[in-house]
Symmetry: D3
Subunit: 130 residues, 6 copies
């Protein structure tokens, strides 16, 4: 689908674009939102959810960006890896932090498959209390 | 494969078990290692890698545990989710932090698929510099 | 692997190409089949299965194409997303339908990870009857 | 995490539970929501999004439920497969429709991997117009 | 869905069951086929494909079973890991071979994520010739 | 991240590059290692693990390379598919072997999803002995 640029956007889409730029303190819109704007309801709902999820809370924004990047790397989403690497850098992730983040992602991917392939049974102490 | 208990383990396996307990300051071994002990080379190599990756560095241990848990949830590995939830709790993750961590994992899973399904092109600014 | 074009194909491969074009009422072969033709047994078996699976039945062809696209988006297969978006469009998927399809794919990806990460137990009523 | 039952829920959580039951015309809450209620912000946000996404629109509710089930099967989420199989049945999915749905999911999973492993190049005609 | 036992099966389903037992030289049917028998067309098509794919060819049956198990471990399919571990054992896989197989699966899972997360560009020499 | 070329590499990184070239009997370093060299600890640890895992043992090097390729195809990692296709070819994989390998990967992906979506229960005989 083609990108919907700011100048050609409907008022509803423009309002979301404006909120994205104001919230993130940037003066441009990245392609993810421009493409999603082909379906204004998806654009608005996705942005509203993302804004709530990524707001500071019990976890600080840098940790949230690193978690986002870790999942994106785990899913192998090229666009998401590129955009969230940039976002995490902006939030303060150094080269050393990125190297360690990816080492954890790689290690978790490895042991996840080992635990499944070896059919490890959950330890009694790890079972959720209900 | 059956679990290799400490008392029946070979000296090579016992040495790894001892190092796991000493490094983590615990007095028991969880099933993942007991099953992997059926292949002593895998046990030793996996533990040595994990110990290095999870040691404090540019990222603190709690952040590393949360990244590990996020990838495990993304991969849907039941054993890993159970064991790393426990590890992250022990490292200081509160209920509120867990709720926000899972919200980020869920949101990233959603937007990863949206970016791929909508065939979003990587923005020029996000391309890695080579 | 390189593409096997119609004119250079063996009679066995040509017969599959002819059936693809006749069944789909098109006058060209897309790259997926041209590459698979490097292994004629895989080409024939895959096409025969696909033809049976995608034939009208209890579900109509448009719904089948949308299900195919949803799984391809979920798997992040670039080629498959591109080719099955085209196929679904041809079968009648509008822009609005695509937007809703992707919204469901995204939402399912999100709640799948939430259900796994939060370790939700299957409700008694949802258990399969055996 | 333990399930939050209706009677012990906070007013905020009860309001979401009430809306779930009213929207779906049921008199009980399934475990997914009861567990998510441990994080009321996630409960409310996820439910609001799901309600919008699954509402009738360009696609009818049965098709949406089948797409949801297809993605859940593709992700291998046991809870989600169980709960959305039930939801799709309730929306009208017959045994024959389920059989065909799963046949499409299986076939798409197979050809997704073939397209990736054989490194098939996207046909010029399938490239998105930008 | 419930299992369709041999004695209650239709002649069409019985014919597939008979062929499975004859081809594999066993006197019982495992649950995968008994459940798939709820959709006889899927049962027959899946069995025919599997029989062709797993027949001896350029790769011997043990290697094919190990590849099947590796993919099943990578996908985290519990049923498939259990059934194909048994099949690979029967075809000659020793404990030592299983340990090495899982070590490769784990290592590939790790480096797959590293290559994606670090956004490694494909070397010119690795590009497919077209 | 940019590639670290041999001539500009630190002595620590050069030592790993030298070992890679000596072990593999090649005179060049592929991009995966050049990018990972941005984090020398990850470079060294990943190479040491890979060298151990891929060494001849109970499985011969060709089988190991094919397992690696099968997992990479299953994960849809473009770089890994390209590089391990080349490695498997070099270790002796013919066109016919590759065709059969991909047929197994495709078939496993299909039946993995069928087993999960149809909620097949593990047969008593397939359960691991503990």
């Amino acid at each position: 689908m083609r990108n919907i640029e700011y100048d050609e956007a409907s008022p509803e889409v423009k309002a979301v674009y404006d909120d994205i730029m104001a919230t993130r303190r940037v003066d441009w819109i990245n392609n993810f939102w421009k493409v999603l704007a082909n379906d204004p309801a998806s654009l608005r709902r996705t942005w509203e959810s993302l804004k709530q999820v990524m707001a500071p809370g019990a976890l600080d924004p840098l940790v949230k960006e690193m978690l986002y990047l870790a999942v994106s790397a785990s899913n192998g989403c090229g666009y998401c890896i590129a955009s969230h690497s940039a976002a995490a850098r902006k939030a303060g992730m150094s080269d050393a932090m990125f190297g360690e983040l990816m080492a954890v992602v790689g290690m978790a991917s490895e042991t996840n498959r080992l635990a499944q392939g070896w059919q490890v049974e959950v330890d009694e102490r790890f079972r959720p209390r209900r």
